[in-house]
C-alpha cells in the first residue's frame, strides 16, 4: 500500500530525514517511535504533503501511484488521512460545514454525487457516538476553544467519517488523559480492517497498550534504526531511548 524508499527531506536546508525505508501493507498497524527531534512529525508531514518540506531524494508510492506529485487534497482523495499533532483552530467554520465540504469534495473528486444530507447527518451522529462526543460539537467552530482531548477526539471523528485507506496518527496520544486515550483507541480499533492500515507515531509506549501494532520501528536521527514486533516497544519502554543511542554509538 505505502512504499517509502530512501526518503530524504529537509526544511530550510536542515536535513531531517536521511534515508527512510518503510513498507506498509493493507491491514497492518505500524508504530513509529523515537525521541524528540528524530524526524517523526516530519515524516507524517511529508506523507500528507506539507509544502514547507522539500524531498531531496527517494520516493513514496501509495497504491502504486507517485504520492509526491500529488497535492495535499489529492492525497486525501486517494485515501490518506493525517491526524494532526496540533489540530488548527478555525473560527467561523462550523464542524458540520467543514465535514460536509470535506466529504463532498472527496466524493466530487471520485466523480460521485454529494452525500444525501440525511445520510450524512446520520453518519455524523454514529461517529459522534463512537467517540463519545456531544452533538453540540457539530455546531461549534472547528477546534475553536476545544480542549486538547477534544481536539484529538475530533481528529479521530473525522477519520471515522472519511474512512481513509491509510491513517497516520501523529502523537495522537500526547496530552490525553487515560479516559480520552481509551476512547480514541477504541475508535481506532473499531476502524481496523484487513483493507485499511495505520501508522501510529508516538513518543511513548502507552498508546500501544490500547492499539496493538504489528510492527514497531525506531526512528533516530532521520533514519529507521531498528524494526521489530510489538515487543520492541516494551523493550524501549523499559530501557529508554538511550539504549538505542548507545548501541548505535558502539557500532
Amino acid at each position: 500500500m505505502l512504499h517509502i524508499k530512501n526518503l530524504h527531506a529537509s526544511i530550510e536546508d536542515n536535513k531531517i530525514l536521511k534515508g527512510i525505508n518503510l513498507e506498509v501493507r493493507p491491514g497492518e498497524v505500524h508504530a513509529i517511535m523515537g525521541p524528540n527531534g528524530s524526524g517523526k512529525s516530519t515524516l507524517s508531514s511529508v506523507i500528507a504533503g506539507r509544502e514547507e518540506y522539500e524531498v531531496t531524494e527517494g520516493s513514496i508510492e501509495f497504491l502504486n501511484e507517485d504520492l509526491l506529485s500529488l497535492s495535499p487534497e489529492e492525497r486525501a482523495h486517494a485515501g490518506i488521512f493525517l491526524s494532526f499533532q496540533y489540530p488548527v483552530e478555525i473560527p467561523g467554520v462550523s464542524l458540520t460545514n467543514f465535514i460536509k465540504t470535506s466529504m463532498n469534495e472527496t466524493r466530487k473528486a471520485k466523480g460521485l454525487e454529494p452525500y444525501p444530507a440525511k445520510d450524512l447527518l446520520k453518519k455524523m451522529r454514529d461517529c459522534l457516538e463512537l467517540l463519545e462526543m456531544d452533538k453540540g460539537f457539530l455546531s461549534r467552530s472547528l477546534n475553536e476553544g476545544f480542549s486538547g482531548g477534544e481536539k484529538k477526539r475530533n481528529e479521530i471523528f473525522q477519520m471515522a467519517l472519511l474512512e481513509p485507506k491509510l491513517a497516520i496518527l501523529d502523537e495522537t496520544d500526547s496530552g490525553l488523559d487515560i479516559d480520552a486515550l481509551r476512547i480514541v483507541a477504541s475508535g481506532v480499533n473499531k476502524l481496523r480492517s484487513p483493507k485499511n492500515s495505520f501508522v501510529l507515531i508516538t513518543h511513548y509506549q502507552r498508546l500501544l497498550n490500547y492499539i496493538e501494532p504489528d510492527y514497531v520501528h525506531v526512528l533516530f536521527n532521520g533514519k529507521i534504526v531498528r524494526s521489530g514486533g510489538k515487543e520492541l516497544a516494551h523493550e524501549l519502554e523499559s530501557k529508554g531511548y538511550d539504549w538505542i543511542k548507545q548501541e548505535l554509538a558502539e557500532v
Partner: protein, 441 residues
Amino acid sequence: MSVELLADKLSSSFIVFENELNGETKTDLHRIRRESMAHFEKRGFPSIRQEDWKYTSLKPILKHDYKVFHKGDQALDFSDIKKFFIHDIDTYKIVFVNGVYSSWLSETTHQGYDICTFSAALRRHRDVTNQYFSKAADNTSAMVALNTAFAQEGAYIRMSKGMSAVKPVEIIHFTTEEAGSLLNQPRNLIVLEEGSEVQIIERHQSLGSKPVLTNSVSEIFVHANASLELYRVQNDADTASIINHTSIQQHRDSRVRTAVFSLGGKLMRNDLNIAFLGENAEAYLDGLTLLDDGQHADHHTRVDHRVPHCNSFEMYKGIYDGNSKGVFNGQIMVRPHAQKTNAFQQNNNIILGEKASVDTKPQLEIFADDVKCSHGCTVGQLDDEALFYLRSRGIPEHEAKALLLYAIGDEVIGKVRLKELRNRLHKLMAKKLNVDFQMEI
C-alpha cells in the same frame, strides 16, 4: 475633462438650478444651498494633499463629463431589476431611476409615518426639513457642501413617535445606459421620533456601462429610545463610484446598527459620523469589504462620545485581491465629561493579491479618564496552517481559501438582523469568491 472643468460646470449648473427654483430662492433652505455652493467653490474637489483624502484620489473618477441634471421617466421593467430588491419579502420601496423618483417602481406610505421622497417632504413638510436639513452633515467637507448645494431629491423617512415600520424600507438608485455619464446627488433625510423603529437597506445600481458618480449625503436623527438598522449593499458595476456621507445623531437610549458591504464598484468612499447627544445610547458600526482588481474602498468613521454612558462597537473587515486598495480610518472621540464610555474598534484585513494594499489608521482621542476603549488593526494573509489542515481533508485549495474567507465575512454578515438580506449577502459573497457551496453557518 479635467477636475477644474468639472468644478466650473457645477458652478454654472448651480446658476441654472437656481433660475428654475423661482420663489424658492428666498427661503432659508436655499440660503444654505447657496452658502454650501460658495464653500464648495472655495475648497474645490478633495485632493490627496488633504489628510482625509490622503489615500483616495478622486482624479480618475472626476475626469468624466458628467451630466448634472436628470431627465425623468426612464421606463424600467420590474422583472429586469427584481434581483436588486430583497424580493422574497414585502418591503417599502423608494426607487429612483437616473436620479428621478419612480412612482411606478416605488411603494411609499403616509399612514402612521412618512416613507416618501425628500422633494415631497420639501413641499409638504417644510417645518420638518427646516428643523433638520443640514443640521447633522459635516458641511465643511467639500463633497457634502456640493451635495447640499444641489439637494432636492432623495429618500425621506420620518417615523412618528412610538411607531415601528411594518416592513423594511429599500432605497434603490438605478442608472441606465441611456442616461450616459451621470452625477447623482441624492439627499436622504431620516428622522426617528421617540420610541420608533425602522430597518433600511440602501443600494446604488448602475445598469449601464458609462461612468456613474454618486455623491450621496444622509442625515439621520435618532431620538430617545428609537432604533435604527441601516444596511448598505455596495455591489455596483465597475464603472460606478460612490462617495457616501452619513451623519447620525443619537439621543438618549437610542440604538443604531449600521453595516456596509463594499463588494463591487470602481471607488467606494464611505464617511460615517455618529454623535451621541444623549446618555445610554448604543451604536454598532460594521463593515465588510471584499475587493478585486481595479476596486478601491475607503471607510472613514467618526464616533463622537459627547455624553457619558454610551457604547460604540465597531468591526470592519476587509479582503483585498488583485491590485485592489483599501483604506480604513476610524476616529473615536471621547469628550472630557463622557465618563463610563465603552468604545471598541476592530479592523482586520486580509491581503490576497500581490499588488493589493490597505492603509489602516485608528485614531483614538480620549479626554475622559473613566472609560473602556480599545482598538485593534491587523493586516495579514490567510493562515497557511489552517489552509493545509483543510486541504489535508480533501478540500481543494480554492475552496479551502474560500471557506476561510467566507468565515471572515460571516462575522459581519452574521450580524445582519434581516434573514433574507443575510442570505442574499451570503450568496453574493460565494459568487465573489467563485465557489458554488452555500453555507448555512
